[in-house]
C-alpha cells in the first residue's frame, strides 16, 4: 500500500518518461478507435445498425466512438493537458484502464457478433480489423501504467452559473444515454448488449475517477435546482421518443419504479420482508377496474378517476391494515412466509370470486377486460392532444400522469424517511427490543409502514389498470416471467439499493428493460434473476446506489470508520466538562 502511495506521489511530481509514453500511446489508441468507427466494419447490412458505411459511424460503432473519445480525453488528462485535468480528481490510471477495457469489450463484442451471426470472419471489412487492433492497444498500455490513485482534493470553486451549466449538461447527457438504451432495436439483442457493456464500464470508470463523488457534491450544493432539472428531464422524455412503444416502456418503468419505491418503505426503511407486495398493486388495480364503468365489471358504477384513485388507495390501505395487523406480530422469516402466503391468497381468492366458486365480484380468471381509457375533467388519455406544437399521444398522457404520482411517492418517501417516524422505522429494523425500550410502539410503527406501502402500491395499481385495459388474477403472482410480480419488485429494491430513492427507480428500470430488449432471455428470466442477485450479493451487497449506512455496513473503508485522534482527545475534554 505504501509503495503505491510513493509511486503515486512520484508520478505526480515528475512522471517517468516510460509512463508518459504509455499514456501517449493510450491516447493514440483512443484516437485510432474513434477513427476506425468512420470505416465500414462489415459489408452486409444484415447486421443491426448500418456498419457498412465509410464516412460516418452507425449502430454499435457509436458506442466505440463515445468510449474512444472518453479514453482519449482521460489519457490527455493523465498527460496533464490543461483544461482536462478536472476529469481525474482521484487518479487517471484506474478509470483509463476501465475505459480501455470497455472500448475493447464493446468493439470486440460487435466484431464477434458480426462473425457469429453472419457466419465467419470473412464478413469483417478491413475497418473492423483496424478497430480490433486500435482498441487492443490501450488495454495493453493501460495495464502497464503505474497506479496513481490519490485522495480526492477540494474542488476548484467555479462561478455558480458554471455549476448550473454542468448540472444541466449532466442531465442532458443522462437523457441521451437513457434514450439510446430505450431506442435500441427490440428485434436484435446485439445493440442492447453492447450498450449494457459500454454503460457498465463507463459508469465504473466515472466512479473510479472520482467524478461521481464530485457530481454528488455539486448536486447536494444545488439541491432544489437538481430536483427541478431531474423533473424537467423526466417531463421532456416522452417528447424525445420517435416511437409510441418507447414511451410505453417509459410508462411501465415509471409504474414499476413507483411500486418498488413503495416497497422500499416497507423493506428498506422498516426492514419488514414482504414477499406478497404485488397483492396491493392488484387490490388497487381491481378496485379501479370495478369502478371504471367497464362492461365486465360486476359493480355498474363509473367513478371519475380522482375518486377511483382515492377508492383504490383506501381499499389498499384497508387490506394493508387487515393483513398487517395479525402478521406484523411476527418477526423476520416468519413474517416473510406469512406475507408470501397472503400474496397467493389474494390471487387465488380473486380467481374464485366468479359467481360459481364464490360470490360474483371479480369475474374470476377472466378478470375485468375493456377498462375504458382515463378521462380527467374531459381530458381523454386515449386521444392525441396538441399544445403549442407538441403532440401528446396516449402513452405520453399516461407517462406524465404516472410521473406526477412518482414525484408524489418520492416526496412521501423522503419526507417520511427523514422524520421521527422514519427514524423509528430504522430503529425497529436495527434492533426491535432496543427500539421498544426507547418508547417506540413497535407494532404501531410497523403497521404504519406496512399500510403506507400498501396505499402507494394501490395508487399505482389504479393507473396500471387503465394502462393495461385488462386486469386478470394471473398478473399478481409471486414469481413469474413478466412483471409485476413480488420477486421482480423485491429484486428491483435490492438491486438498486435498499433504503434509497434512486435505487428502486434504477433497479426497476434495469429489470424491466433488460428482458424487454433481450427477448432470448425471457424464457430464462428467473434464472437470470437468480444469477444476477447472487453476483450482486457477492460483489456489491449494498446495491447499485448504496445508502450511506449500508455502504459503511458492508465496506469498512468509509471516512467515518476511522476515529481520528483529534476527535478522541476532543471527547475526553467533553467528559471533563460533564464532570465539572
Amino acid at each position: 500500500m505504501t509503495t503505491d502511495i510513493s509511486k503515486a506521489t512520484g508520478t505526480a511530481t515528475a512522471p517517468a518518461p516510460r509512463t508518459t509514453l504509455l499514456r501517449a500511446l493510450t491516447a493514440a489508441g483512443g484516437l485510432a478507435a474513434m477513427a476506425s468507427t468512420f470505416l465500414a466494419w462489415t459489408w452486409t447490412s444484415d447486421f443491426p445498425g448500418d456498419l457498412t458505411v465509410y464516412g460516418y459511424p452507425g449502430g454499435l460503432q457509436i458506442l466505440t466512438l463515445a468510449l474512444g473519445l472518453a479514453t482519449l480525453a482521460f489519457a490527455l488528462a493523465a498527460l496533464n493537458v490543461r483544461g482536462l485535468r478536472w476529469l481525474t480528481p482521484t487518479g487517471s490510471t484506474k478509470p483509463l484502464r476501465l475505459l480501455a477495457l470497455g472500448t475493447f469489450a464493446t468493439t470486440w463484442f460487435t466484431l464477434i457478433a458480426i462473425a457469429v451471426s453472419q457466419g465467419g470472419l470473412v464478413n469483417l471489412e478491413p475497418g473492423g480489423w483496424v478497430a480490433a487492433v486500435a482498441t487492443a492497444v490501450p488495454v495493453a498500455t493501460t495495464l502497464l501504467l503505474p497506479d496513481d490513485t490519490r485522495p480526492l482534493c477540494r474542488p476548484v470553486p467555479l462561478p455558480s452559473w458554471a455549476d448550473i451549466l454542468i448540472i444541466a449538461a449532466v442531465f442532458t447527457l443522462g437523457l441521451y444515454v437513457v434514450n439510446y438504451g430505450i431506442q435500441t432495436d427490440e428485434d436484435n439483442p446485439e445493440p442492447f448488449i453492447g450498450y449494457l457493456i459500454a454503460l457498465c464500464f463507463a459508469a465504473t470508470a466515472l466512479l473510479r475517477a472520482g467524478l461521481i463523488t464530485r457530481l454528488s457534491g455539486l448536486t447536494s450544493a444545488y439541491r432544489s435546482l437538481t430536483l427541478v432539472a431531474a423533473l424537467v428531464t423526466a417531463i421532456v422524455f416522452p417528447f424525445t421518443q420517435d416511437k409510441a412503444s418507447y414511451t410505453e416502456l417509459g410508462v411501465n418503468i415509471a409504474i414499476f419504479a413507483t411500486v418498488a419505491l413503495g416497497l422500499n418503505i416497507v423493506v428498506g426503511l422498516a426492514g419488514l420482508l414482504d414477499l406478497g407486495y404485488v397483492a396491493f398493486l392488484g387490490v388497487g388495480a381491481y378496485t379501479a377496474a370495478l369502478v371504471s364503468g367497464s362492461a365486465a365489471s360486476t359493480i355498474h358504477v363509473t367513478f371519475p378517476f380522482w375518486a377511483a384513485m382515492l377508492t383504490g388507495a383506501l381499499v389498499s390501505l384497508i387490506f394493508g391494515v387487515v393483513i398487517g395487523a395479525p402478521t406484523l406480530r411476527l418477526r423476520g422469516d416468519y413474517l416473510a412466509i406469512v406475507t408470501l402466503g397472503f400474496g397467493e391468497i389474494f390471487r387465488i381468492a380473486v380467481s374464485n370470486l366468479d359467481g360459481t366458486s364464490g360470490p360474483s365480484v371479480t369475474n374470476g380468471p377472466n378478470g375485468v377486460p375493456n377498462i375504458p381509457p382515463l378521462k380527467i375533467f374531459g381530458f381523454s388519455f386515449d386521444d392525441d392532444h396538441s399544445f403549442a406544437g407538441l403532440t401528446l399521444d396516449s402513452n405520453s398522457n399516461y407517462y406524465l400522469l404516472m410521473l406526477l404520482v412518482t414525484v408524489i411517492v418520492v416526496l412521501i418517501f423522503s419526507r417520511a424517511g427523514n422524520s421521527r417516524i422514519g427514524r423509528a422505522w430504522v430503529a425497529i429494523r436495527e434492533d426491535e427490543t432496543a427500539a421498544t425500550a426507547m418508547g417506540i410502539n413497535g407494532f404501531r410503527v410497523k403497521l404504519i409502514a406496512f399500510a403506507l406501502g400498501a396505499t402507494l402500491a394501490g395508487v399505482a395499481g389504479t393507473i396500471w389498470a387503465h394502462v393495461q385495459t385488462t386486469v386478470v388474477p394471473e398478473q399478481y403472482v409471486f414469481a413469474g416471467p413478466v412483471p409485476p410480480n413480488s420477486t421482480f419488485l423485491l429484486a428491483a429494491v435490492i438491486l438498486g439499493g435498499m433504503g434509497t430513492i434512486g435505487g428502486p427507480l434504477l433497479g426497476a428500470a434495469l429489470l424491466f428493460l433488460i428482458p424487454e430488449k433481450l427477448e432470448f432471455l425471457q424464457d430464462y428470466q428467473l434464472l437470470a434473476f437468480g444469477i444476477a442477485l447472487i453476483l450482486l450479493m457477492r460483489f456489491r451487497p449494498e446495491g447499485i446506489i448504496p445508502n450511506r449506512r449500508q455502504q459503511l455496513e458492508y465496506h469498512e473503508t468509509g471516512q467515518l470508520d476511522v476515529p481520528d485522534q483529534a476527535a478522541l482527545s476532543g471527547s475526553t475534554v467533553g467528559v471533563t466538562k460533564a464532570e465539572a
Binding site: 436495527e430 432496543a434 421498544t436 425500550a437 426507547m438 449506512r549 471527547s571 460533564a578
Partner: protein
Amino acid sequence: MTTTTVAKAAPVLTATGVTMRFGGLTAVRSVDLDVHPGEIVGLIGPNGAGKTTFFNCLTGLYIPTEGRVSYRGTVLPPKPHLVTQAGVARTFQNIRLFANMTVLENVLVGRHTRTKEGLWSALLRGPGFKRAEAASKQRAMQLLEFTGLADKADHLSRNLPYGEQRKLEIARALASDPGLLLLDEPTAGMNPQETRATEELVFAIRETGTAVLVIEHDMRFIFNLCDRVAVLVQGEKLVEGSSDVVQSDERVIAAYLGTPFEGAPGAEEAAAVEAAEDQAAQQSTSARTEDGQ
C-alpha cells in the same frame, strides 16, 4: 444527611413482591425495592442471581408472575414502550445501540416518547414539525455534550470505541427525560479510567434530578457510587442497606465466596501452610541477596 431527607420523599419506583417464574424455575422471588428521588441504588449479586431478570420485570420486557411495580404511585403497564413513556429508561447489559444509525440519530430515537409528530405532519412539513424537529436536535446535542460525544454526532454508532458506545447508550436513555434511569452493568469491560469517568457521569445524572438504579459487578464502583445497595442471591433479596452494612454482612460474603464446609481444612493446616510459605519466601529472598553479592 441527604439520605434522611430523600427517605421522607415519596419513592420514584416501588417494586413489591416481584416474582418471575419461567416454568418451574423461579428466577426472581418476591423482591421488594424502593428507589427514592435523587438516589443512586445499586443492585449486586453473583452471576445468575436474577438481576437482569428483575430489570426486565421493571421495564416491561417481562410481565412478572406476581407482584407489582409502580412509578410515582401509578402501576407500570407491562409494555416496554409505555414504561419508557411513563419515565423509566434503561440501558442494556450487552450494548444494544442502533448500529447503523449515527450517534445523533440514536439519541433522536430516544426522544421518541417526548415528541409526537406523526406521519401526516412529517409529510406536510408544517412549521410545527420543523420546530419540534429543531427542538429534538437541540436537546439531543445537549445530551451528547453532556456525555462528551458531541464531536462524534455524525459517526455511525457501530464505529465508536467500546467505552463511548456505553456512554451513547446512557445518552440515548436520558433523551426520554426519565425520572429513573436503570443501568445494567454500565462499566462491564471498561478500564479503570473509563470506569471512573462513568462514575462521574452517573453523579452528574443524579445532579439533574434523575434517580439511578444500577446493576454492577465492580464492587469498588458500586460502593463509591451508591447511597444504598441491595443484594440479590438466587432470586431473593438478601440484604439492603448502606455500603458498610452490605460489605460487612456475612451472608453477602458467603454468597460471593462460599461458606466453609464440614471437614474443611482447619486452623492447624492453615497455620502450617502459612508457615511453610513464609519459610519459602525467606529462603528465596536470602538466595537472591547472595546472588547479588
